[in-house]
Every structure is written in C-alpha cells, then in structure tokens.
C-alpha cells in the first residue's frame, strides 16, 4: 500500500466515530474504505506503537462489506455501523485468539463470543483486532504483557498506561476511532489520561462481564475509549445494557449518556474537589492542569466546593487485597487440563506437577505476585484481618461517596498522579506501579461511574493530563455531561482536540506484516 494514497485514507483515520458513521450512512464513503484506511494505518504505525496483538484484516473487511450490503439494501443501520474498533484482548472472540496478554493463553481460540463482542458486531461495528494489555489486566503500563509493551503515541519511549494500554494507544494513534478496555482499578481511565483521550468506566454491572476473562469479579467493568466524549457515549450505549448471562449485570435502562454528551451544560451543577486527592500527591504539571480545569468548570457556571472523603486514603490497600484475592481464585482454572499452555507432561509427572510447572512458565511475575498475595489474604486465620477487613473498608468508601453526593453532583480529581512515565521506570517496583491507580481505585471499589477527559499537557514534559469526573452509580450520564462541557471549552481554547498537539507518528514505509 503506497503511502501516496495516505491523503484520503489519512483523512478517514482522523474522523471521529460519529463522523464516520454519518458518512457511511449517507453513502459518502463505504465501510470497506473506512476499514481499509484503518488497516493501512495499523500497518504504517503499529510496528512502533505495538497496540495490536492480532489484526483480523479479513474478518474486519467482511464485517465492513456486510454493513455496506445492508446499507445498499436499505436495511436499518445502528448509530455506529461501519465504525472500526480496537478490542482489548481480554474479551472473548470466536474468530480471533484471546490471549489476555499471557503466554498461558497464547493460542487459545474461545468457542464463544463475549456479550460485549456480540453487541458490537450486532451494531455493525467493525472489530479490527485484539489489543495488547497487561497480563490478565494486572498492571498500569502494558509492561506486564507477555508479548512486550505498547508505546505511547505521544512519546514512543513512554508507557501508554494500563492495563488497557493497547486500546488507548490504538485510539490515540488513529489506528481506530473507538476502543474497548476494561477497568478494575483504573485500567481504562489511566491509559486514557496518559494518552490524551477519553476513557470511561461505567457503573459496575452496566456492561456485561460475560466473556470478559475475569481478573477481579467484583471490580471488572468493560468500557469505551475514544477521542471525543460523544464517541465514547455512542460506544457506551452500543455496548451496555442488562445481560441475563451475567448475574451482576444491572437490570435498568442504560443511562442517557449520548443525550448527556450533547447537553454539555454545567451551569448550576455542584462539583466537589476531593480533598484527599488534591494535596501534594501529584506531579506539578498534573496538579496545575487539574486546578485550571476546576477553575474552568467554575467559569462555566458550576459551583465548586471541597469535599473530604476520609476513607479514600485506604482505597489502595483495600484494593490490593480484594483484587488479588478474587484473582487468585479466578486464575486457578489455568491449570493445563482443558485449554491453554501445558508444560512438563512427559508421561511420568503427576497432574499436580504439570499444573505447577505450567503456571510457573505461563504466568508473568505480577500475576504470580497477586495470586500469592490473594491466596495469603484468603487463608484461614488471615481472612478477617485482610480480605474481610478490606471489604468493610470498601463499604466505608462507598459511604464516603454517598455522603459526598449528598452535597455535590459530581466529584473531580486528576485521573492519575503523573503523566506517562518512561518504559522501564517502574517495571521492577510493584508498589510504585500501584500508585498510578491512586485516584481511580475508589470508584472501582464503590462501583460508581467515572470518566477521564483530557485537560491539557503538563508543561514540564508536554505530556497529556486527564481530569477525572466521578458520579453516583447509575448516573453515568452526569460524567458525560461534565466531560463534554470541559471538552468543548478546552477545545475552543486549544483550537482543536488535544491530540492534534501530538507529533505525527513517522510512517514506517515498506515494512509489511
């Protein structure tokens, strides 16, 4: 594919999902053209970004053809029909491998689609492929992927965040206008923040977990990644809703997030700044951009107050007890008996030994650490002091949120304490890595709704900063409303989206896949 054609194709990859969908619906461009343009973009930049683990070119083009056929036949199309999407490799797909970023599932092909996968396909969304992630969603940088890290399109020497770093990088690099991630401790919002895009964690249970390979069952939430708030809202609606296959799925209508994204008015809205997250814990530039965002909200008519959520300082330790506990149990099934890697079966070894050798070879260090930590926390004699106590702390954190939401409509904080750190900087320091989730974790523990929207670049390094907006459970629309208002005002100030300020990625001409 000669780069000379990059003109039109390049334009197509710069469009938003909403724009693409409208163009396809209007017959201005075919879904196949759109998909091809994005596949070409992947070829051009993914050798450097490394967002994708698997690109399903043939399947994607077939799906795109299907959209074109329907359109030609006058059949009704969904609001995102023909729009390409990057799917985190933690959701099952029948026709593509699902590795969860792990050697233990390196060549696993599931016999079933996740509910989210099915809904995307039913909506006419074109799944381009599966994206890189921290192994089994454990991490904040994709450096825990068994297949190598992804790279931040803003600076290829830096992390794209995690665990949904591949999806975030793909969207930020214009490889797809839409991405799906999953958020357990911040794994959608933090990558979105450090990649300068929008990332949303819906209310827990808002999107089905059926087919989402479980890390922490009571925390995992699939959600949208996009370059605009409206795009994220459109994807949010397409992927969400009650699923009878998931007992924890919310049996209530999807909150009106698209309408909210179009109603970007915060006048009279009560905004709370979380005291515990506004102190000196953040990088200077992050704090500065955050403070400006808060001032912006005030200027748009919001009433801003400080709100204290005293138990939030215990959120990180509580999370790092609950999540590993659940994951130690969820990952037990990877035992070499029914699927996945099997190591050491020489005909003499016992099943127990083969299990242990396989898991030793198949899991990376972070996964091993969390499995052991979880096993410890659930052990008889330790349960009450660790897991049991953490679940109580979780209730207290939820109560802090409830009390706060009596006073305010939304809470705000920086999404993550720093901008994208260099690859390798925290890879051997688990505790330093965990700090990336400091501000995002409370919303996972309480299960409420939280979005990250870009709010500027940190002056010291020119890297994106995210503003986190939190709302009560089932009030997801509020986060979109505020996010859209901030986005509109800031884009006016910047003269365009934040991403436009990123350097163009050098096209890797001549290298084929």
């Amino acid at each position: 594919m000669a780069t000379g054609d990059a003109g039109t194709a390049g334009e197509l990859t710069r469009l938003t999902a909403a724009q693409i969908a409208a163009a396809v619906a209007a017959g201005e461009v075919s879904a196949v053209e759109v998909t091809q343009a994005h596949l070409d973009r992947i070829v051009a930049v993914d050798p450097d970004v490394r967002a994708f683990l698997h690109v399903a070119g043939i399947g994607a083009l077939a799906a795109a053809e299907d959209v074109d056929r329907k359109r030609a036949a006058g059949e009704p199309l969904g609001p995102l029909a023909g729009v390409p999407l990057a799917l985190k490799d933690v959701l099952t797909t029948k026709d593509m491998p699902t590795t969860c970023g792990s050697k233990i599932l390196q060549s696993w092909r599931p016999p079933y689609d996740a509910t989210v996968t099915r809904r995307l396909r039913d909506a006419g969304i074109v799944i381009l492929g599966k994206t890189n992630m921290d192994e089994f969603a454990m991490g904040s940088s994709t450096e825990n992927s068994a297949f190598g890290p992804s790279h931040n399109p803003w600076d290829l020497g830096r992390i794209p965040g995690g665990s949904s770093g591949g999806s975030a990088a793909a969207v930020a690099a214009y490889e797809a206008p839409l991405g799906i991630g999953t958020d357990t401790g911040g794994s959608i919002r933090q990558p979105a923040a450090v990649c300068g895009i929008v990332g949303m964690k819906p209310t827990y249970g808002g999107s089905s977990r059926y087919g989402l390979v479980a890390f922490a069952s009571s925390l995992d939430t699939p959600g949208p990644l996009a370059r605009t708030v409206l795009d994220a809202a459109l994807l949010h609606e397409a992927m969400s809703g009650h699923d009878p296959c998931d007992s924890t799925s919310v049996d209530a209508p999807v909150p009106p997030v698209v309408a909210a994204a179009r109603h970007a008015d915060v006048s009279g809205l009560r905004v709370g700044v979380v005291t515990e997250f506004s102190g000196g814990g953040s990088q200077g530039g992050v704090q500065a951009r955050f403070t400006e965002a808060v001032e912006l909200l005030e200027s748009l008519g919001a009433k801003v107050v400080e709100v204290s959520c005293p138990h939030f300082t215990y959120a990180l330790p509580a999370y790092y007890l609950i999540a590993p506990s659940e994951c130690s149990s969820n990952l037990a099934r990877f035992d070499a008996m029914r699927y996945g890697l099997r190591v050491g079966d020489d005909g003499t070894r016992s099943a127990e030994d083969v299990m242990s050798l396989t898991r030793e070879a198949g899991f990376g260090p972070e996964v091993k650490r969390r499995i052991m930590l979880g096993t410890y926390a659930l052990s008889s004699g330790y349960y009450d002091a660790y897991y049991g106590k953490a679940q109580q702390v979780r209730t207290l954190i939820t109560q802090d949120f409830d009390a706060a939401f009596e006073q305010v409509d939304v809470l705000v904080s920086p999404t993550t304490p720093t901008t994208a750190f260099p690859l390798g900087e925290r890879a051997d320091d688990p505790m330093a890595m965990y700090l990336a989730d400091l501000f995002t974790i409370p919303s996972d523990l309480a299960g409420n709704a939280a979005i990250s929207v870009p709010c500027g670049l940190a002056p010291e390094d020119g890297l994106p900063v995210g503003l986190q907006i939190m709302a009560p459970a089932l009030a997801d629309d509020r986060t979109y409303r505020v996010g859209a208002a901030v986005e509109a005002a800031l884009q006016q100030r910047w003269g365009g989206p934040l991403l436009a300020q990123a350097k163009e990625l050098g096209e890797t001409a001549g290298e084929t896949r």
Binding site: L321, D345, S356, L373, N448
Partner: protein, 97 residues
C-alpha cells in the same frame, strides 16, 4: 517482617506455582513489602460495618430451568492439550478427592 520466605514457598505450593529459588527470594522481599502496605486496612475502625456486596445491591437473580444449546464435544475439546475417547486426557492424579 510481614511474611517469611518459607511462608511464600507455602503460598506458591498452595497456588500451584513451581517457583525457582531465585523467584522465591525475589518475591519474598516484594510480598513482604506489599503485605506491610496493605495491612493498613487494619487501622480502620470498622466495628459493625458490613462487608460490601455489590455496587447496585440486588438479590434473587435466577434463570428458568430451561435447556439451552450446548457446545459440541469437538468445540469443548478444541483447546485441549490432550484428548482421548472424547475426554480430556490429564496426567496421573495423585490425591484421592
């Protein structure tokens, strides 16, 4: 010290992880640090506070006792590391259940 190397070795056995000695040394130090940090939850007074169940509390989610199509044996066995007579072939099991 929150956790000893022997305790870590025990945890590894419980979780079916055949760690190398080098890994054991490495993880022991890290787990010790992490456990020390997460133990902070014990500082919180939580008398009478119920443990959290779900964000949107709900009870009685059931399905009807109605058949749903299954996988075929081929699909079920598709990823099997080893198979014989339409069953999953596994190495010899030591413990009586």
């Amino acid at each position: 010290m929150s956790i000893t190397r022997d305790e870590v070795a025990h945890l590894a056995r419980l979780s079916r992880l055949a760690l190398t000695d080098a890994e054991l040394d490495h993880f022991a130090g890290q787990l010790d640090q992490i456990i020390g940090a997460v133990a902070r939850v014990q500082e919180v007074a939580a008398e009478g506070i119920p443990p959290m169940t779900h964000a949107v509390p709900v009870v009685n989610v059931f399905r009807d006792d109605v058949l749903v199509p299954c996988l075929t044996p081929e699909q079920a066995l598709a990823g099997a590391p080893a198979e014989e007579q339409s069953r999953f072939r596994v190495p010899r099991i030591l413990a009586e259940d």
